[in-house]
Chain length 247, copies 2
């Protein structure tokens, strides 16, 4: 398995450098390598992160920083969002144990996965969570359900490593085709096209209604897990409909 097929850990708007370091240490302990930061509060590099990374410092040296979650996940096929609270997004939810198994199955099929961790106090926004295919719920005690993000990262990395040892080797899949799941980049390209065209025909009617309507619409398309071919077809549909309309 090449390093690039291991799941990416994506820390979104993390506040504390210590947590970035502790997450890097846990990744290193459990054989993960691909750390990505989205808009870390205190910028990057952050000297506060390095002591808590200990011998996982090399993970910090090679991490990548992005302005937006879309950019950070463009090359990925399946996104998992860790969540402390149940959410009203009609999304499938897995345990860390089952998430780890599913990720290994995706990896064996040459699909790239990422796991999202939100900021310390607030967690991921609905706007961010909408981009994930699956929620990961770490079961915690009712009296103190809020996990430290580095400790949540420990749980996922630990389960991934433990599952690696027991997963049966799957036959290598043939080269990716049009029938493979679309990447996030392909999905966002479609969203951009769709939004532009919907705005042009005043689909959302009022500015106030747009956020929820647009979130629900994208949530549906994420859930549908379109292939690369599906996205091309959908883009063709939008293009044709829009062209006819403006003619």
């Amino acid at each position: 398995m090449s390093a690039t097929h291991k799941p990416a850990i994506i820390l979104v708007r993390t506040q504390m450098g210590e947590n970035i370091g502790a997450a890097a240490r846990a990744m290193s302990n459990f054989g993960l390598e691909d750390l990505r930061l989205v808009a870390p509060r205190d910028g990057w590099p952050n000297p506060v992160a390095f002591p808590s990374a200990a011998s996982g410092e090399y993970i910090l040296d090679q991490l990548r920083v992005f302005h937006t979650l879309e950019e950070a996940t463009a090359d990925l096929h399946h996104l998992y969002a860790t969540s402390a609270r149940p959410r009203d997004l009609h999304k499938r939810t897995l345990t860390p144990h089952d998430t780890a198994r599913e990720i290994h199955t995706h990896t064996a099929a040459h699909l790239r996965c990422g796991i999202l961790f939100g900021p310390e106090r607030t967690g991921l926004t609905n706007e961010e969570t909408v981009l994930a295919h699956t929620l990961v719920h770490i079961p915690t005690a009712a009296q103190n359900p809020s996990l430290n993000i580095a400790q949540a990262c420990v749980v996922l990395a630990y389960e991934w490593f433990a599952a690696q040892a027991i997963m049966p080797a799957l036959p290598p899949r043939k080269k990716r085709t049009q029938e493979a799941p679309a990447t996030q980049e392909e999905l966002h390209g479609f969203f951009d096209q769709l939004e532009k065209n919907l705005d042009r025909v005043d689909f959302f009617k009022t500015k106030a209604k747009k956020p929820v309507m647009w979130q629900n619409l994208r949530s549906y398309f994420v859930r549908s897990q379109p292939t690369t071919q599906d996205i091309q077809t959908l883009r063709g549909v939008i293009r044709e409909l829009s062209t006819r309309r403006t003619n």
Copy 2:
């Protein structure tokens, strides 16, 4: 299940207060309560521990501090020692997953369990590990096998909590009898008696040989999992043999 039957987390000679706090936070997240410190390097209370405990601060408020591992574990029946390295102690070794299941089974039988975590750099000594019935090995990547102790605590607490949800309810066992496993206190009482009598007959021959011989001998008795009745019988044997000899 009463609070006192949940497994105790026992941090042995911990160096960093931050790690004590982070362990307390993880315990709180996963519903554990009984934290015990053995000879913490910087004494107790240690103000450095509190910020990293976050809403698990109440665990720190109620923890207990002991001078020795023997005192800290006197009331417990089954000790698990976390270990990063394989050890030459002929001890059974479990994964965190299986450890969690076994602890719930012990708890259902009214047996009290404790999980030992050694100091940051060195881990538990062989002298300390000899007191444990079972080693817990957290699988880690070869390139960086050394887990932070609070992060190791996350893994065990997480597995304990997750197993709680899926363990079938076992029938409550009848009141403890002489046939129940001995407590650590009973075991150590026997060890004290045995050592005194062996010293008196010069069993160990030379001072240099004693540590390893004595470790192996105790390791055998720990592994044998004696009942309270067994310990009483063994003590009787030693007493009788010793009395005859000195007469």
